[in-house]
């Protein structure tokens, strides 16, 4: 897992290249940039971690890449997937890429599955959108996908509805949907927050295996720094919509340059730490209200 620096970095063949991404919300009180001038690159077989506190723009960044920004939000800058500019592409063109070339695991697994359909249908429809296969074949793929995310009895569970699964299981189903088409790029937005530590470990392992098998590039969004340190090769630290620091994981964790990154690292409660006063992250929230 902990492979050293990826080489395929500047050979021009980056899987995803984001340059100067800015996401703007038009609000009644004027435009608000929730992401400003963000740049990063994701290579094949590589995982990029994005960390930052809640509201720092992590999800907006990933939605911008998928072309799924909510109404009222616009993205500018450049997003290249496999060298092709996708920002500003028509929805129809993007649709061909979504699911197939890039997939996303959404942050909120409870509401991200349609309660009216079995999970089986929701997985197979993703697969069938891009593969011309029979219903039966798609079902086999779906069972397989469920199995891979460690859902027991997948052939039975495939016909269950989302509400019949626990939060953690639903999160894994989201992952199964994202992975079933074996996309080139997976964006995982806090995929393990609803999971128990034990299950979380399993899922992380699964994602790593998959990456090794298929060469998928991944963006892993979380605010759990420990998790990021385990899965990512490179890390982007965000705060207030801007990138405060970026670099290899090792670099960020062993020699953080920015004060915010340092404070963040210091705030992590540690098992092996002494019982000393926890370091607080500056004055980012206190006093100020929004």
């Amino acid at each position: 897992m902990n492979r050293t620096e990826s080489k395929a970095r500047d050979d021009g063949g980056a899987l995803l290249e984001v340059r100067g991404l800015t996401v703007t919300f038009g609000t009644p009180r004027g435009d608000v940039d929730v992401v400003r001038d963000l740049s990063f690159t994701v290579d094949r077989r590589q995982t990029l971690g994005i960390v930052g506190e809640s509201g720092s723009g992590k999800s907006m960044t990933s939605l911008a890449v998928m072309g799924l920004l909510p109404k009222g939000a616009t993205a500018s800058g450049s997003i290249r997937l496999d060298g092709v500019e996708i920002l500003g592409k028509s929805d129809a063109a993007l649709r061909k890429l979504r699911g197939n070339s890039m997939a996303m695991v959404f942050q909120d697994p409870l509401s991200s599955l349609n309660p009216y359909y079995t999970v089986g249908l929701q997985i197979t429809e993703a697969y069938r959108a891009h593969h011309n296969v029979s219903r039966k074949a798609a079902r086999a793929v779906a069972i397989e996908a469920l199995d891979r995310v460690r859902i027991k009895d997948p052939h039975l569970r495939i016909d269950h509805y989302p509400h019949q699964f626990s939060g953690g299981m639903r999160q894994r189903i989201m992952i199964a949907i994202a992975l079933c088409c074996e996309p080139d790029l997976v964006i995982a937005d806090e995929p393990t927050t609803a999971l128990d530590v034990t299950v979380q470990a399993q899922i992380l392992e699964l994602m790593a295996d998959l990456q090794a098998e298929t060469g998928t590039g991944m963006i892993f969004i979380t605010h759990d720094l420990a998790v990021v340190s385990q899965v990512a090769q490179d890390v982007v630290v965000m705060n207030g919509g801007v990138q405060v620091e970026a670099g290899s994981t090792e670099q960020i964790f062993s020699a953080p340059q920015h004060d915010y990154t340092r404070a963040l690292l210091a705030a992590i409660p540690r098992l092996d730490d002494d019982l000393e006063e926890l370091k607080m992250v500056g004055d980012f929230r206190t006093g100020a209200t929004r």
Binding site: R95, G99, L113
Partner: protein
Amino acid sequence: MPGYILRRLLGVAVILFLVSFLTFCIFFLLSPDPAVMICGKTCNPARIDQIREQLGVNQPFLAQFWQFLSGIFAGRTYGEGAAAIHCAAPCLGFSFQTNQSVVDMITARLPVSVTVAVGAAVLWLLIGISAGLVSAIKAGTWWDKGAMMFALGGISLPNYFIALVLQYVLVVQLQVLPFPSTPDFGEDPLFWFQSYIMPWTVLAFGYASMYARLTRANVLDTLGENFMRTARAKGLPSLLVLRRHALRPSLTPIVTLFGMDFAGLLGGALITETVFGLNGVGKLAADSIGKNDQPVIMAVTLMAAFFVVVANVVVDLLYAVLDPRVRVKS
């Protein structure tokens, strides 16, 4: 599941019992003596007593109520000896005014009410849901505003107003439609259609407005759901996204609402039937109320309640089928 249905049916029975009891109470307490009304303008106390006995209204309240109830299940016999009249099992008595069997009266008129209800329902579902869908998808555009103005009109205009204006314009002034009456479909399909089209339209206008608003609100809600984003992220065709993921969650609550509205109409569209002179159950009710024909009013009330209560159960079951999240409470 069977246990549940059984329980619900029991509930239906209880509600119907209460409805009939209450209606009976109110008519028993508030209504004038039917015998006096029947007796007419040259009347004397002796005759009133005779008629009272004949009608069975000389008995105490509970006895009358019991006779009424048992009549529904076991039939009942009026009078004694040679002059006795038997009324077979689902017996709701005889009209005070016309001496007809109330069940016959209702069954004769039910087809009209059903025709009115079905036609109107088809129209209002088509118009209401499509208008709602269009305005939700095109929210904020002139399409949306136009549809919602239309809906506001339907909600604000009393239906008798619409009915009369429509009749005046289409029949009296433009003469594109004949005066509506209550024909058989078999006899003259064109006339049948021409007769019903106005009542359908009038009823549908009001309901369609409400359904358009509801559909719009529901679809807008659904479009904002996270699972819509998931569906789009899968790269599904946008029409499929809309049809499969947006429509079903938006329409499920409407289906249940529809069940109730439709059942309500089966009990007679009082105003519309009256305005257009359609001999349906609603007009029967209105007429009977005007003549204080208690057995008929009782029966129509009961029947309408029956439809609504049964629809209630059906709708709940349907909801459980349509919405996988629904759990039946113990």
